[in-house]
Amino acid sequence: MRFTKSLCIAAISAALLFSLAATSASAARRPHYGGTLRVELLSSTFSLDPREWKPGSLSAREDEKLAALVYDRLVTLDDYGRFQSALAVEWSRDAAAKNWQFKLRPNVKFSDGTPLTPADVVTALQSVLTGNLQLAASENSITIRSPHPVPDLLEQLASGPHFIFRALPDDTLLGTGSFYVAEIDAASPYESNPLATKPARLRFRANEESWAGRPFLDAIEVTLGEPPLRQLFDLQVGKADIVEVAPDLVRKARQDNLRVWSSAPNTLLALRFDEAQPATADVHLREALALSLDRDTMANVLLQKQAEPSAALLPNWLSGYAFLFESPMNLERAKEIRSSLPANEAGGAEPLRLHVDATGDLMKLLAERVAVNARQANLSVQVITHIVSSTGGAAPISSATPPMGMHLFTWHYDSLSPRVELDALLRQLHLEPSAENSLPFIEPEQRFTEERRLLEERRVLPLVLLPEYVGIATPVRNWMPARWGAWRLADVWLEKGESAPPAPTAGASPENSAMPHGRGAHP
């Protein structure tokens, strides 16, 4: 019944829209409504519950892209540094930026037709906002109060997990976004070949009642867990419209004349020392290793110029000052320091063990490069690969595994606030802020000083920054993502006639299919 009504509304809207289409025949080509956008992602699991996301994780990066289809935020940030209204139409704050008020957009409905209330907004934000913030709902607005200034509250609300949703008693989340989850098809063996696994699929349908207007696409079909080479092949043969391109495949994709977009470098690859192996407590040892690292080779040779060397924790596009940090390779100095260390350290009695999650060849290659660099400075580093299961979860490290002295880790920047990002990174790495900077790093000079202190301690050694690479099929129009990586698929449309035939739809209903780690909003 509801479907029939939606169909009628869609048909009438389309007829009305097209009645004026010819009036602009001499202007830029107008968007087309309809079609299914086929997206392929590397990750094999997903979670549409922002409360579950782990800050800085690559899985949270993927989850945020999917969640942006079904949920809205209070505000968004455009490409020109201007905050735009979304579920909030007005906002104001006091001089100290401790008290904020957001007036909510009237008549917004969740995908099940129920109205959005200020209480929904408060509940959703309370579950994802960090810091000692007090939220309260009133008739048509919400207030946020903080004991200390939060001048970057809009940056926080426009990024990361700060979506507005309503949790139903069965833990399903409803959103007000441009799409809703229509079908979830879990990964399962093929009937014809039980040894092969059919990848998991998610199907999102256009929300006809979206406050921002119906999206141009009818649906988005997301296939999870597709390996990088398979994604590239599917893009080439017209079986996919949007795919992730692994850094080591970017050159090939461009040589094949595929359309490849890259974001600002939004993922950091870095080394973290762990005192589980006592030798790493020696600051001189850490300094010797830091001086041995050849970041330029890592970025330009191993990663084929698809990455940037990094000596900072926050990227330049986020902090504005990262270029001030330099960490040139100095092998002579590294050897000098090494020779001053006790002979049984780092290579004498036992090597420094570098732990790496084997989520891809890239991480292993980098770890091996670190070991080679260290060897040049007469330091011994042993790479220990940690097998990651096909579902994305890491197998537990066995008790027989020797203690690790270093970890190679990735950190995805998911906040538009450099303060929040630095704070989250410190917490994740269990690094304490300095006493004088125990208050939030509001001022950029405070942040710089704190970051410099952390880098000088050399408990974390940044290596390279990676952008996201996306392959885009020819029929995709209005591809206007944010440089920090948000895809904005609600504005994308497909050129008719250029599109490959739509992929078959998944047949499972949301009731009888569930991903191991996924939840979805449905009407």
Partner: protein, 354 residues
């Protein structure tokens, strides 16, 4: 008199029209005081010590802070690390040199002079200016920021030969159509725009200031990601053509627009007449979508000019509407500037020769 002033003094401050918009308020005194109160509540980004509100101010502030670095003596050797956008404009770099010289910190190219690194980076919300110099064994760093949205737009490039192009209005609101104000004696412009999912017709004076705002809520349109509409100004009154509807209103009277269902006839391609030989020239675009700049093509549309090459004019973003003016030699073009995100109204005029 304005009939439908937007009662949102605190309407989020980041969404600003670049040209002055003097929307006068014909409101009751209580509303006036409420607005004053709200204005006091809203604070400009300058409230924070290291913030500044424009590139010029920020450069001055950075020079002041550099001059205050203990034990820093000139002359200094500058090394700039700027984002592409900021590197392209050397004006601020020259200003910084001048400001430093005012502080008795002259600038030199001598390689033996102390190095002062200057950074200028656009982050998602801010422009960060930084200065770093080595004093003893430590880098001394000073940072000044200002809101990126306040970066001004450089002057429009000179129009190419034979096509005069003039930017006459710009706004962060989505402009759907523009029409020359019908009352020739008053001059000015009427624009149709989408503001926060609502349609409004604005009457602007020749300086770009908003004289009147009319809400078209009466049209009761469904929200859409591709709002469309045409504005036809008739002097005292105006018509707005919307999908399946027409709305009429009088600028002078204080009543709501009256809307009724109507099949809208297509606006035909705009044709301009050359002032030189009365030949006709058709305006066309080849835009793919909203993500790339458009090229306006002015092609001969009459036998007198058959075989003539078309003229081209590149816009800073997609062209969204073309409207022939009362004057047959000019047209109004609405385009989105992809560099600034603003919607812009240009006047295109054909000229003889140069």
């Amino acid at each position: 008199m304005p009939r439908n002033s937007l009662s949102a003094a605190c309407y989020h401050r980041y969404r600003i029209a670049v040209l002055p918009r003097s929307e006068s308020y014909r409101s009751r005194p209580t509303l006036f005081f409420l607005i004053l109160f709200l204005l006091c509540f809203v604070v400009s980004p300058r409230a924070f010590s290291a913030d500044s509100n424009s590139l010029d101010d920020a450069v001055r502030q950075l020079a002041d802070r550099i001059a205050a670095i203990p034990n820093l003596h000139g002359p200094l050797r500058l090394e700039f690390h700027a984002d592409a956008n900021l590197a392209a404009d050397s004006t601020w770099q020259d200003s910084l040199r001048q400001e430093l010289e005012k502080h008795r910190l002259p600038v030199t190219d001598e390689s033996s002079a102390p190095l002062l690194k200057i950074g200028a980076v656009e982050t998602p919300t801010q422009v960060v200016l930084s200065a770093s110099t080595r004093i003893g064994d430590r880098d001394d760093v000073r940072i000044v920021t200002f809101t990126r949205a306040t970066l001004s737009t450089p002057a429009l490039a000179v129009a190419p030969i034979r096509i005069a192009r003039q930017l006459i209005y710009e706004s962060s609101d989505r402009i759907l159509d523009a029409s020359a104000f019908g009352n020739a004696a008053e001059g000015g412009l009427a624009v149709l725009l989408d503001r926060n999912a609502g349609l409004f017709a604005l009457r602007l004076d020749p300086s770009g200031a908003v004289k009147q705002t009319v809400s078209l809520a009466a049209a009761n349109l469904r929200a859409t990601r591709d709002p469309r509409g045409e504005l036809i100004d008739k002097g005292a009154s105006a018509e707005v053509l919307l999908p399946g509807k027409i709305c009429e209103f009088s600028w002078a009277a204080g009543e709501e627009p009256k809307c009724r269902a109507k099949k809208v006839e297509a606006r035909t391609a705009t044709v301009l007449t050359s002032p030189c030989d009365t030949s006709n020239w058709k305006l066309e675009t080849k835009g793919e979508d909203w993500s790339s700049p458009d090229l306006l093509q002015i092609a001969p549309d009459s036998a007198a000019r058959a075989g003539s090459a078309a003229l081209f004019n590149e816009f800073p973003g997609p062209i969204l509407s073309i409207n022939g003016e009362l004057d047959p030699g000019s047209a109004l073009i609405v385009a989105r500037n992809l560099r600034t995100g603003n919607y812009e109204v240009y006047k295109i005029t054909l000229h003889c020769g140069n």
